[in-house]
């Protein structure tokens, strides 16, 4: 359910990843919200999140598909050295973050 941040208590679990206006995943799906999370979300200007009590997560996903995210990342990294291990590692991390499956923060 879509909840206003001001009405929220720590302990709810995110049904969807929280994404800012540019597509950065701030918090991944399934993260149990703490008081610090709520403060950080407010700092990012987030006012509403889709969260539910633990155990009632829906299965719907709003994050881009693996294929979409992967294409987006190839495009974004096209000027870099594809063979460098740091770039491969960065791409792997970005792909996971973009899909919102990471246990971030």
């Amino acid at each position: 359910m879509d909840l206003c941040l001001d009405d929220m208590q720590p302990g709810l679990v995110l049904v969807h990843p929280v994404v800012d206006s540019k597509g950065n995943v701030l918090l991944g799906k399934g993260v149990r919200l703490t008081a610090r999370h709520l403060t950080l979300l407010r700092a990012h200007g987030v006012t509403h999140v889709d969260a539910a009590p633990s155990g009632t997560e829906s299965t719907a996903a709003a994050a881009p598909s693996a294929q979409e995210a992967s294409m987006q990342i190839e495009e974004q990294f096209r000027n870099t050295n594809p063979d460098h291990p740091l770039i491969s590692e960065l791409k792997r991390i970005c792909l996971r973050r973009r899909q919102g499956t990471g246990e971030s923060t």
């Binding site: 990294f77 000027n79 740091l86 770039i87 960065l90 973050r97």
Partner: protein
């Protein structure tokens, strides 16, 4: 073809550092000045003092007790660190007076701020002294772009279009102007009398192996730029990851395993930094 320096004179009228900042920088470089002298100068500017105390009391620093005065901030945080923060936050403020029609100021500073935070986190992993210097170097690394957008809007528009079509921005700028945003940023910083470490990191952030005096600072800013462009989307069409210089990564001696934790730590610090360095951003 004119060079990067020609753009600076006009810029200085529009975006200058406040006298108090220049005075603090002078004192920092003067051998016979003390921390108390610098504190005294900063304290004479109430707006700057308030801003600085807000920064050091934020969760970006996370000091357990409240810091009430500038002299206390200097004792706890350090003279060099405080002066760097004064510089960084004043430069961000100075550029509010340098508008452009090409990119969103907000997006520009978000990338810069994220890069600054990544540079700070990398420097901590490297156990480098004065990690604030890395933070401010990262924060200011692209400042020359704002000068270009403001002074040469038509050519800059063309450069941005070519970059969007898939080429590194600094290479396109070299072709169009004969120099790029890193040269312009370094010239501006020189005109502002900023410390040499900032100037060199800005000048060589796309060619870090050319850094002579501050290779580590320059390498860290280069890596921070690459990591920030990848990990933190700003919604800008130039959210392209610039080419990585492998020798910069080797120079830091950092391990690949830390990449993920660096980004996670940067995410946490970024939210805190956003609130104090770019307060207009988080008020949305």
């Amino acid at each position: 073809m004119s060079d990067a320096r020609d753009l600076i004179d006009d810029t200085l009228e529009l975006a200058s550092l406040p006298a108090v900042v220049l005075r603090a920088l002078e004192l920092l470089n003067a051998p016979d000045s003390s921390a108390a002298d610098i504190g005294q100068v900063i304290s004479e500017d109430p707006a700057l003092s308030v801003r600085l105390l807000r920064i050091v009391n934020s969760s970006f620093y996370g000091f357990p007790s409240r810091i009430e005065t500038i002299s206390r901030a200097i004792t706890i945080v350090g003279t060099l660190e405080i002066t760097d923060l004064v510089l960084g936050s004043s430069a961000v403020e100075a550029f509010a007076g340098l508008p452009n029609e090409l990119i969103e100021m907000q997006q520009f500073w978000e990338h810069s701020l994220y890069a600054g935070v990544v540079a700070r986190v990398l420097a901590r992993h490297h156990r480098a002294p004065n990690t604030e210097r890395f933070f401010v170097s990262g924060l200011l690394h692209d400042i020359g772009s704002l000068v270009l957008y403001n002074q040469r809007p038509e050519e800059s528009r063309r450069a941005l279009e070519l970059a969007r079509a898939g080429r590194p921005l600094h290479q396109v700028e070299q072709e169009i102007f004969g120099f790029d945003h890193s040269d312009v940023g370094a010239e501006l910083m020189q005109a502002w009398n900023l410390p040499d470490a900032f100037i060199e990191a800005a000048r060589h952030h796309h060619r870090p192996v050319e850094a002579q005096e501050f290779p580590l600072e320059t390498a860290m800013v280069h890596l921070a730029d690459v990591i920030a462009a990848g990990a933190h989307l700003t919604g800008s069409a130039t959210n392209q990851v610039p080419p990585l210089e492998p020798r910069a990564w080797e120079l830091t001696g950092l391990s690949l395993d830390i990449t993920e934790s660096v980004i996670e730590e940067a995410d946490r610090q970024y939210a805190d930094a956003l609130a104090v360095i770019l307060p207009s951003a988080s008020a949305a």
